[in-house]
Symmetry: C2
Subunit: 275 residues, 2 copies
Amino acid sequence: MSPNQPGQMPPKVPIQGVKNLIAVGSGKGGVGKTTVSVNLAVGLAQLGHRVGLMDADVYGPNVPLMMGINRTPMAYGERIQPLDQLGVKLMSMGFLNPGDKPLVWRGPMLHSVIQQFLRGVDWGELDYLIIDLPPGTGDVQLSLIQTAPITGAIVVTTPSDVSLEDARKAIHMFHQVRVPILGIVENMSFLNCPHCHERIDVFSHGGGRRTAKEMQVHFLGELPLDPQIRIGGDTGSPIVMRKAEGEPFLELARNAVARTAEVAQQEGPKIEISE
Amino acid sequence: MSPNQPGQMPPKVPIQGVKNLIAVGSGKGGVGKTTVSVNLAVGLAQLGHRVGLMDADVYGPNVPLMMGINRTPMAYGERIQPLDQLGVKLMSMGFLNPGDKPLVWRGPMLHSVIQQFLRGVDWGELDYLIIDLPPGTGDVQLSLIQTAPITGAIVVTTPSDVSLEDARKAIHMFHQVRVPILGIVENMSFLNCPHCHERIDVFSHGGGRRTAKEMQVHFLGELPLDPQIRIGGDTGSPIVMRKAEGEPFLELARNAVARTAEVAQQEGPKIEISE
């Protein structure tokens, strides 16, 4: 299908109409991977791009809450129609299983759901499809990044050693399956006290940049730990939409665009299927 | 094996010598599940109990870093000897795969590793064996809680709606497989600014207690978000060992002891196998 696939990998069939597929992953959960995915997607839309966001965290799908939308998607024929919110096309297991009941599916069922989300959803023409991966480096993640034509991956970490330890594992995982790393994002990088405005390094500071240097990957920026970000997530109003507080997330979106262009160029010409 | 097993479940064979098996879980990663597990284990040891801690988070095993120990365990015959640190017997995939390389194992391999950790480790005589579950409600968690004779489960959450949404899923999962809930712990409940000492509700506040009430489970307490806790984790010195800052974690250990006794009584007489 593509002339420049590495040797032993299965062919990665392009997703029709989707120019760039960006995976957002983390070694550890709770580092703000979904917060980054949601704000990156909305930020890219604000910059004028056509954007989709696929929530691949089928066990803990938080995208509906953070995007402030939860309806059952329609299907026309065999194609599922994504929801549309804040200028972003959305698909999440949360739309299909909206209650508190856990999905205790086993691996093979997950693989087919995720493939369905990738290929059975009518994404239309997109400049960027963001995939919010499940946290960790398990078999769901591995299957997805082995079969999807991912342009590049963003690894989210906090500055704590525990999170960095797991972020290095995630970077190794992407290297193993030859997915280019767009860069590391250090989330919860610092907190400015809302009372005295002094800076608090709750989860330490600087480990993301240091790890990026050590592992020779790009550093995409620091995002603050700000109660407003959490409130934005809990109320479905992503912080990137705010003028001042949103700026670090818009900057991340700009950096992601630049890195995606670099990586796409290094990868050589892409074959796109069009009708 | 036991006269009071619910109908369709496979028999849960007791672990020889282990009186109480406590699972610490969360719907979402990064809420401090391992921090709670480590401090609970060390706290129980400080209260005079014989304690083991099994790190079942095989993809992101952070127990070695947080307990400040990383050696390859010895095996005598077919029994693996747990490591001993701060008065707690330990087993973790981190001891067997200490580098940054990710484990990208598929489900069935995980099940056998976890069974090996439960049954192939020479835990000896323990009052409490704490299992630090992987985050989420996936198949690894399900297999483990279906096959292990768990006395009760602790669910860790932060006060944010996103975390509470996933905590409810975890509680449903334990209910489904009839594992008693010892209670909910609200972690990262509040932060006292180290500069002005004003309180900051970074991740909101009170949702753990409210959710416990709604779901008719016990509430085990609030734990602060304190940079010292993270530093304790990153340097292998669990905060529970400190006189003042450790008190909320010691209190959690006392509450866990009380709730375990209640639950064990409700469950009726246990059959123990001894030599």
